[in-house]
Amino acid sequence: MNWWLAAACALVAGGLGPCLWGAARGTAGRRVVAQNMATLLLCLVFLLLAQGYGRPSYVDLALVVAVLGPAGTLVFTRLLGDEMEARPPGARLLTPAVLVGAPATVVPMCVATGPGRASVKLVFTGVLLIAGGAVTSRAVRRG
């Protein structure tokens, strides 16, 4: 039994599933919030999978989603801006989710991998994720 994979599985079923539900119904603002949450959670899923399968090279996926995920959300806030309401439901959850989720995933992984290039990459991914999460959650609320 691999706890990393169990956590990834729980995040896919319990995190991405509800995000899909949120993105498929409701107002435009709520959908974009769900999409943003999904990119943040997916980054964590990739990190957990990399650790669970023991393949540090899978961290590249987390790195890419940490920069492209916010870019995708900003596309929606930019082009759907006039359809989105000012304070969509769930937007308040975004910042706490990323501020808790990113360190809660990255720190144990760094401890497990030990110091070196791999953990620098993990921390870098975590920082990009937090920066992206902070900026997109502001953009979504202004929307």
Binding site: S57, D60, V67, P70, A71, L74, R78, A131
Partner: protein, 249 residues
């Protein structure tokens, strides 16, 4: 045909496909089975060519000609899009109204552009070693430029993106792939044969022609996506047509 009749035809077709497909599935080798004759041979060949990423080896070495086909589809569809979305005589270019973007978002966009571009280049450059390559990295690199549009504003993107250069690079990437293939013929082997020395396993210069073809694809995909998005952006934001009076309506 009425809409109702069409739906019945559709339902019949879908049911027939579903039945045939389900029957075919029972004859497929079971999911997760251990019988992969092609995969085993491809992995052996990739290791022989000292390419750590067997997928890149299949794409740019073992099945390099197939990738040339894919490249050409990509090139042709970009060409088609450019032709379809060009500005016609009865349309005029109107500069879009400036959009106010909050300052933190602007800072994020300016900061993340080089970071995303670097990640894209990293993904292209390590294509023969770790997951990634020209196709994936090219799209990431092209997206990085468009952070200027989505986080800063459209004129900033236009200043930063000499479109003619990207159109040229798109063709150059395709040409580089074709010419690198011809290098195999000159060396007295087959078209797109891997004629360069394979190098040391798991280093940037390993894999013979794989990193070069990978770079050619990277250039082509980057410029292709930039060119595509440029035409969509111009159509959606700048180009306004006169109403075509009585034409084909």
């Amino acid at each position: 045909m009425t809409r109702r009749a069409r739906l019945w035809v559709l339902a019949a077709g879908l049911l027939a496909v579903a039945a045939l497909y389900a029957a075919a599935c029972t004859q497929l080798p079971g999911f997760g089975g251990s019988w992969h004759p092609y995969g085993d041979r491809a992995v052996r060949a990739a290791l022989q060519q000292r390419t750590a990423n067997a997928v890149s080896s299949v794409n740019f070495d073992l099945r390099g000609f197939d990738t040339l086909g894919e490249e050409s589809v990509l090139f042709a569809s970009v060409l088609g899009t450019v032709v379809l979305l060009r500005r016609t005589r009865d349309e005029k270019r109107v500069p879009p109204e400036p959009v106010r973007v909050p300052a933190p978002l602007r800072r994020y966009g300016r900061l993340m552009l080089p970071v995303t571009l670097l990640i894209g280049l990293y993904v292209i450059a390590h294509g023969q070693l770790s997951p990634g390559g020209g196709f994936q990295g090219g799209v990431v690199a092209a997206t990085s430029l468009h952070l200027l549009y989505i986080a800063v504003d459209y004129p900033a993107l236009e200043r930063f993106r000499p479109l003619g250069l990207y159109e040229l690079a798109d063709g150059a990437g395709e040409a580089a792939y074709v010419l690198l293939g011809a290098a195999g013929l000159i060396a007295g082997s087959a078209y797109l044969a891997n004629v360069l020395p394979p190098g040391t396993f798991n280093t940037l210069s390993s894999g013979g022609t794989v990193p070069l073809l990978n770079a050619a694809v990277g250039i082509e995909v980057t410029s292709a996506v930039v060119v595509l998005l440029a035409h969509f952006l111009a159509q959606a934001l700048e180009i306004e047509g006169e109403r075509e009076e009585g034409r084909s309506t």
